[in-house]
Structures are given as C-alpha cells and as structure tokens.
Symmetry: C4
Subunit: 370 residues, 4 copies
C-alpha cells in the first residue's frame, strides 16, 4: 500500500529535477546505498544480513532505477532520448540502475551482486566542482605525464629483472619470477614499501636504493608537471572570471568580446585590508573601481551605501565629473579592479561604440542621483 503512495510522489519529484545533474536526494541515496553495501560485507560469511540493511539497499536501487527511467522519459519527451542514453551521465545512470539487477538475475550470489552497488559513487562525478579544471590540466599535460609514466614502467621493468636475477636463489618464494619482482618494483618505486618483499643481498639492496631514489625523481617530475599545468589553468580561469565580472557590469554590457578582453587586461587588481580609505571626498578622481570580492562603503550625506561583488563606483571621474562626490572605504578585505582614466581613454579610442554606452550610462546615473 505504501508503495502505491510513494511511487507517484517519487516520479513527480525525480521528474521535476530530471534536468539537473544531482539532487540532494540522489546524494543521500548514494551515501546510504554504499554504506549499506559496506555493512553487508561486515556480517559473518554465511549469515543473512539484517532485514533493514537489505531493505535500504533495495530502496536505493529502486530510487536509481526510477531516476533513470524518469530521466529517460523526460529526455524522450524533449527528443533527446538517445543523446541522454548514450551520454556519460546516461551510461552512469544506466549502470547504477541495471548492474545489480542483472547480476542478481544471472545467478550471482546476492552478497557479491550487491558489491556492484559501489558503482553508484560514479554518479557523484558530475557534481564535483573543480573536476573540469583538473581534467583540463590532465588533458593539457597528458604528453609529459605519459612520458613520466613510460619512464616509470621502464624503471619498473629493468629493476625487477635485475632483482629477480640477484635475489631468485636466496628468496625463491618472493623473487621467484619476474612478475613477483614486478610487484616489488611497483611497491618500491611508488615509495609505498609494504615490506612483504624485500631484497636481502647487498647488490639487490643497491639496486633497490637506486629504485627508491628514482621514485623520488618520478614523484618530483609528476608533481612538477601537474603544478605547472595547474598554475596555467588557474591563470586562464582567473582571466575568464575577471572577464565574466566585467561582462556582467551594465557599463560594459554592449561591448564585444575583444573589447571585454581589452578591459580585462587593462584592469589591475588591488587587494585592500578592511577600513582603508579608497576615495576621499572632493579630491580629484582619475580612475573607477569594480568590486571583485568583499565590500565597500560609500559615505553619502546622511546614509551609508554598501556595494558588494560585481558593483562599481567612481565612474563619474571618467564621465567628466573630476571631483569625487563621496568618500569610499572598504568594510571587509576587498579586491578591487581599478580602471585608470588613461586606459579608459585608450579603450574609448579603440572602441568608439563605447562612447555612446558611457554617455547613456552617465545620464542614467545622474537622473538616479537627483
């Protein structure tokens, strides 16, 4: 009976969120499912698991099957059935929905079949925030990273054959074949060092020492490559984010990408501690400011106005009104983007359409202030 009530509600809920990647409900289901799957293996080998563990597992599975079916229907209605079904998200959803049932139906022992529930964690992947950035670093630096991997494998092979030759007579149990020595080489070169297989002949130890030092080198190269790639990616990301800030500002809304890129490169960032005076009233202004992060306080007669991220001030100085009309100071640690009069003029010379935007903006602002 409860199922008759739950099913339509669930369908409606999943339907409503079918467009999004992951809902809180899905996160909860993944966490619960994987936790139950883990619990299932803790129970003594031939005992049945507690009823509630089983019940929760079936509930999670049901949720994922429903989610998948509802998404398929939802996408089908939008004519994107195959696009979704074959996309990586669709494939992950399909695996999450089908892996366990298929295993159960093929006669795999239930405890083993439920292990496939671990694949549900793959559903989390699209929700990881910085993943795209990481993937781009891995793609951009794939050449050097692959080189290091090949060097890694070559050291592993050469070292394991050498150790096999040196240790096989003394330790036939652990160094009795090249694959066994390969296991030792990987454990050593990654500096994991389980200690289950250890060379004991003097020459074998010299080879092992060289492998360990190579391990440091491989580690260093790997990290160096990733650090370099990550720094470049961060720089590019920052540029794009500054750009986004710029393009959100009404002032620059009608500019083309090239002009925005120009503006982005002309802006200079300024990190200020809290309670620092930025503009003093009645001084001569020569630049305008955008708040990239933090908050500033404009000290208008009779009231204080707070300006947050994305807002700007001091633009009157660029529109002919040289005297600053109000003091402005930071109220938090603030990052400002500063556009100097000089750069602003240069920008206008390069992009004549900007002049009109500015005139319009100047008039709108003046009307507002009155």
């Amino acid at each position: 009976m409860s199922k008759r009530l739950v099913l339509p509600a669930l369908t409606r809920f999943v339907s409503a969120t079918a467009g999004r990647n992951m809902t809180t409900a899905a996160y909860v289901a993944v966490a619960a499912g994987v936790a139950m799957m883990t619990l299932l293996t803790v129970a003594p080998a031939h005992d049945a698991a507690p009823r509630w563990v089983d019940a929760l597992l079936w509930a999670c599975l049901a949720y994922f099957v429903f989610e998948w079916l509802v998404r398929l229907r939802h996408m089908g209605r939008q004519g994107k059935f195959w696009f979704y079904a074959l996309s990586s998200a669709g494939v992950v959803d399909a695996i999450g929905a089908l892996a366990v049932p298929v295993a159960l139906l093929s006669g795999v022992e239930p405890k083993t079949a439920w292990l496939l529930g671990v694949l549900w964690v793959l559903k989390v992947v699209p929700g990881i925030p910085g993943l795209r950035q990481l993937r781009r670093v891995l793609v951009v630096e794939s050449g050097p990273l692959l080189s290091v991997l090949v060097i890694f494998l070559m050291v592993v092979f050469l070292a394991s054959v050498a150790e096999y030759f040196l240790e096989r007579d003394v330790q036939p149990q652990t160094f009795g074949s090249v694959p066994a020595a390969l296991w030792w080489a990987v454990v050593t070169l990654t500096t994991t060092g389980y200690g289950d297989v250890v060379p004991i002949t003097p020459l074998g130890r010299v080879v092992a020492a060289m492998v360990m030092i190579s391990g440091l080198g491989v580690f260093g190269l790997w990290t160096g490559i990733l650090a370099t790639g990550f720094a470049a990616e961060t720089r590019r990301d920052n540029f794009l984010r500054t750009w986004e800030t710029v393009s959100k500002v009404p002032f620059f809304a009608h500019l083309g990408p090239a002009a925005i890129a120009d503006v982005t490169q002309m802006l200079r960032t300024m990190d200020l501690p809290p309670r620092t005076m930025i503009i003093r009233k009645d001084t001569n202004g020569d630049c305008m400011y955008f708040v990239a992060a933090g908050e500033v306080e404009v000290d208008l007669p009779g009231r204080k106005v707070k300006l947050g991220e994305g807002e700007f001030f001091g633009e009157m100085a660029l529109l002919g009104n040289a005297k600053r009309g109000a003091s402005v100071s930071t109220s938090k640690v603030t990052r400002l983007l500063v556009l100097d009069l000089v750069d602003f003029r240069l920008l206008m010379a390069r992009h004549p359409d900007l002049a009109e935007t500015i005139d319009a903006e100047a008039k709108r602002r003046e009307r507002e202030n009155q």
Copy 2:
C-alpha cells in the same frame, strides 16, 4: 605558604599580558604540561606517577585556569567579555582550563583525564607566524582541493570493493569485509604502506599497483594546487609589503591608496650584492631609490651615513638637482626599490597633489643639508 606569594604575582603578570596572544610563560607552560602528560603515560600501568610529574601538571593546569580567569576579568572590564569568551582564542583558553578538571570531576580515571592536557597545544596556534597565509591558501584553493579529496575517496571505495572481491577467499582475515579493505586502500593510496594488509592474488596486485600509481597522481595534484595557491598568495603578500614600505616613506605619506598602488607597481626591485656602487658622485641622476632590505652607505664629505630598511636616497634627482651629490654603495646584500624619473613624472601627472608634497620635501631636505 608559597601559594599565597605566587598567586598575586601570577595574577599581576597574566593581567599585564592579557591583551597579547601568547607569552613566553604560556609557551613554557604548554611545553611543560604536554611533556608531563606524556611522561605520565610512560610509568607502569598501575603505579602512581612520580610526585613531581603530578605537581608540574597541576601547576600548568593552575596557570591555564588563572590565565583564563584573568583574561575574562580583563576583557570584562573592557566590555568585551562575551566577545572574548566566544572567540576562538577564548574557547581554546576555556578548553585548556576546563577539560581536565571536568574530566576528573566526572570520575574519569586521573591518568586518562590528564590526556586531555594535549589540547593545550591548541593554545600555540595563534602564535604561528605564517598560519594566516597558509589558511588563506587553503581557503582560496578549497574548491580544487575538495575535488581531489572526492577523487581520493572514490578511488579508495572502488579499489577496496575490488580488492575485497578478489582477496576475500584467500585472505578472509585481512580482506574479509569492505571496511577492512578500505583500511588497506587508504594505507596504500597515501603510499604509507604499513604492510599489515597486502594483496597476494595476481589480479589483486594489479589493482593495488594501479591504486599506488593513482596515489602518486593524487599527491601530485594536491601539491600542484597548493604550490599554485602559495605562489599567488606570496605575490599578493609581496605587493602588500612593498606597499607598506611605500606608505611608510614620508615622501608618499599623504598619497591615497590608489596613488600608492601606482607607485608600488612602478617601483622595480633590484637585488645587489654587498660593496656595489649604486650612485657615483657627479654623474647625472635619473632615479631615486628606497631601501627595502639591507643597508647602503652614503659617502658624504668627511663622514659616512648608513641608511637602512625603509629609508630612501637619490630623490634630489627627481627634484631638479640632476648631478648626484654623493656616492652611494651597498654595505650588505640589499634589495632596492627603484623609481625612474619617467615613472615619477607620470605619477605626478596622474596625481597633481604629489607635486606639492615633493616641493615641501625638497625644501625640507635642502634646509637639512645646509
């Protein structure tokens, strides 16, 4: 009797330093307390600890309780009672003062109760110099770092289920459940490699090798992200420090933050070995110098004047007096900030109020030289 003498003195001492974060006395108390707590556990299980260990522990505890109470009183008088009591420093002080007594009073065995004394090390945190910088790196890079952590956890989960499946029949003792396999996965992926749990089936070892290599990758990403964040933080820090140097120079005292930022960006740093001639007498000067670090020696007629950090020289060249009046050379490894005449003129054009500052400074200097 000694207590009657010690208490008021202690109160006075702590009172006097209540505003500061940490005193040498507090450091000594933390070190002594933690050392005694450690010693306490070395003694045979059911023996009483030596009297002096106990005495020192009680003394440290008393110090921390006093410190907390005195600070509460001190802050209460300034009307900041709750501000302090609920600040992180206040909470750490409260924990340091109360954790052990509360445990003792709730009937916990003394030896176990004193273990809470390890929380005293938290009092050291505000005194760590570069901590703020580190924290900002962690905050700024939290997105990518969290992504790597999620990837880390996913690899751990997938690998441990795979190993559980592959090894459970051969090693039911160590791979008998997914949590046991999770332990192995964390130990392996961090390349710690205790060796208490080691896969022995060929397929299990292949999976383990892949986990180890992933461990290198996770390590590399993590380090790369932190290195990038740290580099950016250092750059920002340097800018702020240069700025501070600039704003301390009387020459620029009356400039607004924007002008100071301008100056900061126009300055170029110059690292010089000791005993290098910077200015030769009677040559034409075209720039002025600020000593950012180190020391220079001005070779005035009849005497040598040493200029240290924050001082400046060669400014006469910017004030119309083109011929250098004295030779200047470094006496230590010195970092100079150089301001070229060209940039200086540009600066003046942008900030007309600077001209007056300069005229005033020129006159003051000339009077002084006469």
Copy 3:
C-alpha cells in the same frame, strides 16, 4: 620453407622503415619479447618453457637482429654506417640484437640469458613524446638537483652511523654494520619504509624521526626544483610553438626571426568558449586574429566557412578596410592570437619590409574575394 618466404619480406619491410625511429612492428616485438621473457621466469625452475614461448622469443630476437642488420646496411649505403653504429640508437639496437645471443654462446644458462631481453625496452626511449622536454629540465636544473642528491647522501651517511652506534647492541642482526644501517637510512629517507629494519631504542627513534622529516624536506626541494624547471621549459616551449604558428602564417612568411619574435610577443592569447561572437559584421575592426587552437566560423553571405588551427581572419582591418565584412564566431573552445592595430603599426614601423608583404597579401586576398 616459411623462413624463405618471411625473410625477404621482413627485409623489405624493415628497409622501408629504416629511417624512422620506431615502427608499430617494433613496438609489438618489444611488447611480445618482454612479455615472453617474463613468462619464461614464471615456469617452474627446472622445467622447459612451453614451445610457443620459446618460439616467440626467438622470433622477436630474429626481428631485432634483422632490424639492426638492415639499418646498418641502409645507413652504410648513405655513408652513415659509423654515425649510426655509434649513435645511441645504434648502440641500443646493437645491444638488443647481440646481448642474448652473446650470453647464450658464452654458455650462460638459457633462462638467464633471455633475461637480457629486458634491454629491448630501451628501444622505446626515442619514441617517448615529451622526453626531450624532461631531459632539458633535468639538464638545466642539474646543479640544484645534484646539490639535493649530495645533501640526501650526507643525511643518509650521518644518520646511518648514528643509528649503527645506537642500535648495534640491541639489534646486532639488522644494525650490525654501517652498510646495514645505510640500507635502513635509504629506505627511511625516501619514505619507503619497508619495516624490515626498524630502530627500537628511544634515541634511535628520535634520530629516525628526524630522518623522516628530512625526507619530506628532500622530497619538497626535489619537487620544487623540478616544478620550477618544468614551468620555465613550458613557457619557452609555448613561445616556440606560438612562433611556429606565426611563421606558418603566409602573412609573416618572409619575416626574419627577430620580426617573428616581435610578432610573437605582441600577440595576446584569448581563450573563448564555443558559440561566442568574435567579430560583428559592419562594426569597426581594429585587430586581426590567428586561430591557435579550435575552430571559428565565418558567416559569409550564403555560406559558412570554417577556419581551423593556423588560419587567420580580420586582417582586412589592418589593410585599410575598417568595416568588418562578415561576422565570425567560435564553433569550439578556441584559443585565438590577437594582433592589435596599434601593435601592428609598431611592427610595420620597425620592419619596413613588412609593408610590402602586406600590400601583396591585401591584393591577393581582394582578388580572391571577388
């Protein structure tokens, strides 16, 4: 009989590819050879290996011998016999061809002789894509890296003598001599930590803790050096690659290296998401674009033209035709190189021969467009 047919075909095939470093066939042979060599050691000690393993090993060896001989002949005909024979590639080929036969002929046990087949992996080295870059980093940073290695060795020596002194009486088996302690020190300083040799005296553990922390430091220095070197190498590589893009553009074909370097430094990169408008028809143009990566779509009347890597657009704006003739937008994630009119003019002023190139190009383009 089959040999009579195979040999000439093989000779022809190897001949045809003698100039190249590695063929797919060679990669297959290396992989098969090393795999078989590994399999050979898995068989029980005194049993003969399966016939097909032996056969494949001999086939691989035969391939490498043939390859070497054919290359020698091929190079001999071009008068480069000794150049090749003594080059690193030639030496690796010779080792691959001769090591196993020489070992077999000198009476080494076959199973051991075939182990030398692992040297075949060295043939892969020239084919690794980023290896040159890695090698240059190692060469450029060899000074600091060697310093770290010397520091590493000094810590290893000092620590192992200290541990020998502290542990020799308690653990004569494992710390009974300085070489044994050296083994411990290397295993510890690289943070491998097998656990086969572990200090147990309190002082010994303090020394060991310091060695481990030094290990972190050595690791950090090593990585820091490599990361720095790699970043510099990447920057240089990027410059050279941008340059290459520039020199491939017909527009700049006749420029000298200095002018190309100028162009390279004047270009600014712009990363754009897909479906972004770059040029709007009938607006005023002030810059031209080169497609460094990705693809753009020119919206000509009646048709859409796609421009890929290395192609350029918007150059009419630099040749006097200020109004943009067509809209251009990205169709993929695209990296553009932007050359501003200002920089372009500067470039022309510096390199008068560029003016003629431009006039010629302008006329060619206009003829083409009509």
Copy 4:
C-alpha cells in the same frame, strides 16, 4: 722512512691549496676515509680489522690533521688565524682533525672512535654548487616552513594521544605510552609506514586514515612553499646572471649598476634552434644581439667567424650603419639576448654617458674591420 719523504711534500701541496675550499685530494681522502670507516664495522664484532683498512684510516686522519695545521699556519701568516679557526670551514676542519684522536685518547673503544670519521663528510658541504641557492630559499621561506613544521608537530601530538587512548588496551606492547604512540604518528604522518606499529581498532584506524591524509597535506604544503621559493630564487638568479653577462660585454663596461639593470630588463631572450638564420645580409638592421649561450656563425666574405657565449653582434645597426654587413646564423641551440633599437635609444636618452661609450666602441670596431 717513507714518512720523512711524504710529510714535506704533503705540507707543500696542502700549503699551495690552503686558500681553496676543497682539493681533489681532500675529496679522495673523504671518500676513502668514510669507506674505510664503513668497512671497519662490517668485520665480525671482536675481530681486528684488516691491516690495510686501519692503515688507510690513519692515513686519511693524518691528511686531515695536516691540512688543518697547514691551513692554520697559512691563515696565521695572513693574520686571519682566528677568523679561519672560528669560521664554519675552520670548525669543520678542526672537528675532522680532532674528533677521532680525542675519542681515542679518552679511552673510547677504537671501533667506536673511528665512527666519528663520518663527520669528515661535512668537509664536502662548501663544495656543493647550488647549496647557497638552496640555503637562501630555506631562509626566505623559513616562516611558512616553520608554520608547517608546527602544524606537523601538533597533528603528531593530537593523533598520538588519540591513538594511545584508543589502542592502549588492545595493544599494550606497541601503544602502551604516548611516546610509543608518537613514534607511530611520525612514521605515519611522513607516510613512511614501517608497519611495526599499526592500529587495529576501528576507531584507531579512522584516526590513522585522517593522519595519513593530513600527511599528504603537509607534504603538499611543504613542497608548495619550497617550489614557490625556488621559483623566485631562480628568477632573481637569472636576473643577476643576465646582468653579469651584460656587465662583461665591453660595450657596457663603463655603465653604472642602474643602467645595467635597465639594460638587463630591456633585453629579451630568444631561444633558437640550430641552423636558423638570424641576420640576413643587406637587410635593414634594427637590433643587436648578445650570445647568452650556444654559438653563432658570422658569414663574412671568405671566412666564417664563430661567436660564443658573452660575445655580441649586429651592433653596427645601433651605430648608424643600417644595412647588415653579413649574414649570421646559429650553429647550436642558442639563447640570444636581443636589444632593440627603440630600447637602445631610450637607454641612451636616460644615460647620456652611454653615447660616448658607443662612439668609442664604434670607432674601435671600424678600425678593426678595416
């Protein structure tokens, strides 16, 4: 008798090299001494070492004593006796000369006394090339590095008390006291992981997992800090080296440091592959080149002149002779420093004394060419 011949020769030899840090002889003596000291410990505990080992050890010791005495005399004659005796090099020499004899005379067992010979490796320190650079990185970054160390120690303390509490009842042998748990914590946090002490309770393993992940974080921070510091140091070093190249060029010999700094910043580096044409004869020249590394070939009529590191060409273009007189191409991978005519003019405007230098140089060159 042989001693009578050897001593004076040795004295003369050491005398001659007393000013230098390390001679090849000293390196050999250090290597031989440390190797013999190591060998000494390999011999069975109560056996005497072979005579030649003993003899070599005494010879090395004699060398170091002589070296020290001769240096003391040499420095004494120059009036720098105490300066040397108390310098770090002097103290290391004194320790090398006195440690073993003093130990032997105080009745320490010979085998143990000779262990102090390991201190001879300290004599190698001043000879390590990049050590100064490494030390400066460590000094500059000491603040953040210390912070990380303090964090490291805090994690170690908190984790070991937690593990002691959680594991002491289950494993009284290995987790029976906080110092024992500290050993575990250091071994784990550095990811060494001997495996001699391993938590077995579920909660203990959760704490251990967090310690391992913190270990990755500490590692990453450490490396990030060192990488950042190293990058900055390399940049500064490069600037100083470019500067040195510039100041060695006769052209700039008479410039002051400020002008040289200007030149250094105006120069742009250009990395060229071999056999690239740099200057084409009879084209218009607009810049001059300095060879920073590699080699170029000037194609003069009838002969080819090779120019190596530190030499320059194309300077005629800066001295009024606009047409290039000869083609120049690279013969190796070459790094050039390029000075553009524009920058050169700017430089002359800023430093009028440069004009005279140039005129003199122009005349000298023209005389030479005729």
